[in-house]
């Protein structure tokens, strides 16, 4: 994301993690995540390079800031076992992403509505399609399939602020190895042809994905109260918000309602995404 970084909160000014000028500074990687800056501490230069490649769209390269303890994540590759180092590092990258997501969610609790969702954005207008789903329902495949034509926001978590803006989470995509297995690899967005938004994204459409093998596309509108219930299991830190139910209702209303979309292949959603991303605010 190209806009200048928000100035760090004053609370960041005195912490024990200012590594400026120390040798270990090269082993740390700062990334933007859900409206904050998270610091990744890697075990060696090779890992630091791997992290920088995978998180390239989220790298924070502004003025060095101190980060509090809850925004510091350690990458742990481990040693030994029968697996080679590359395999252990791949697993560590997955664990790192999960830890970073949890950390960012904790750090930002109360500041946005957090949806377990992927998002794509019209790169000119910021109109964004937000697709909510539990794991295994197709967020990442949809992002890979339709994403290269638009701008990428996340394949995991979407944060919506009180004014309807989306705080991107430009993480590497968590791609199932071989397309179906339980093992995932963290893949740099650029490797999949994805780019960052250059305008502020905003919610233009909101769906819950239900992927069913062989299903024809089915779109079911849901009224606002039922939509809040349907979204609830896929929200994080809802209770930390002021007036949480009203905040979620506002997200739904800004998106012109929630629909539940049953589908089998990501390409079926293409026309719907085109319509949503052509909306004006």
């Amino acid at each position: 994301m190209t806009p200048a970084p928000a100035p760090p909160p004053e609370s960041w000014t005195t912490t024990p993690h200012d590594l400026s000028g120390r040798p270990e500074a090269d082993l740390t990687v700062d990334v933007r995540a859900l409206g904050t800056i998270m610091r990744i501490q890697t075990p060696d230069a090779e890992c630091a390079a791997v992290v920088r490649r995978a998180w390239h769209l989220a790298l924070y390269s502004g003025e060095r800031v101190d980060v509090p303890e809850d925004r510091l994540v350690h990458m742990q590759v481990g040693d030994g076992g029968d697996d080679d180092r590359s395999e252990r590092r791949s697993r560590a990258m997955v664990a790192l992403t999960q830890a970073l997501t949890r950390g960012a969610l904790r750090a930002q609790a109360g500041k946005a509505v957090f949806l377990h969702a992927g998002g794509l954005c019209n790169p000119r207008t910021g109109a964004s399609f937000v697709y909510v789903a539990p794991g295994g329902m197709g967020k990442t495949p949809l992002t890979r399939t339709l994403g290269p034509a638009f701008a990428y926001l996340s394949d995991e978590t979407i944060a919506v602020t009180a004014d309807g803006a989306i705080l991107p989470y430009l993480k590497p995509l968590s791609v199932r190895r071989g397309g179906h297995g339980s093992v995932k690899d963290e893949v740099a967005p650029a490797e999949l042809g994805l780019m960052a938004p250059t305008v502020t994204p905003w919610v233009a459409g909101l769906v819950i994905l239900r992927r069913q093998e062989g299903a024809t596309l089915h779109v079911e509108p849901v009224d606002t109260l039922d939509a809040i219930v349907a979204l609830s299991p896929e929200t994080s830190a809802m209770a930390a918000l002021d007036h949480p139910l009203r905040r979620v209702a506002h997200v739904i209303e800004r998106a012109r309602g929630l629909t539940i979309v049953t589908y089998s292949e990501a390409t079926q959603l293409g026309p719907m995404v085109d319509v949503i991303l052509s909306r004006r605010r």
Partner: protein
């Protein structure tokens, strides 16, 4: 249920619409959102400070009209039991 007192349980948040409400309940680190019908929401509203079941039944008929079923008592008891099972009301004196 004549001597029973129904009392609404506190929730973290509530949003009311034309056809009922949703409430947010929190237990330790997890949250749960429950959808309430107009009847369920009205029972919680009337029972905010505690209300006897007989008074509740009359107040509901006054507020929502006479239901299709003749057995108002059974209808209200079933609704109160559902709410109690969700932790949305407490029932004292059963």
């Amino acid at each position: 249920m004549t001597h029973v007192v129904v009392r609404s349980a506190p929730v973290l948040d509530e949003l009311v619409g034309d056809d009922g409400a949703v409430v947010l309940m929190v237990h330790e680190t997890t949250h749960r959102v429950v959808r309430l019908s107009v009847l369920g929401h009205t029972i919680r509203e009337l029972a905010a400070d505690g209300i006897s079941s007989s008074v509740l039944e009359r107040a509901l008929v006054e507020r929502l009209g006479t239901p299709d079923t003749a057995d108002v008592q059974a209808l209200v008891r079933a609704a109160v039991d559902d709410l109690a099972a969700e932790g949305l009301v407490t029932v004292e004196g059963q």
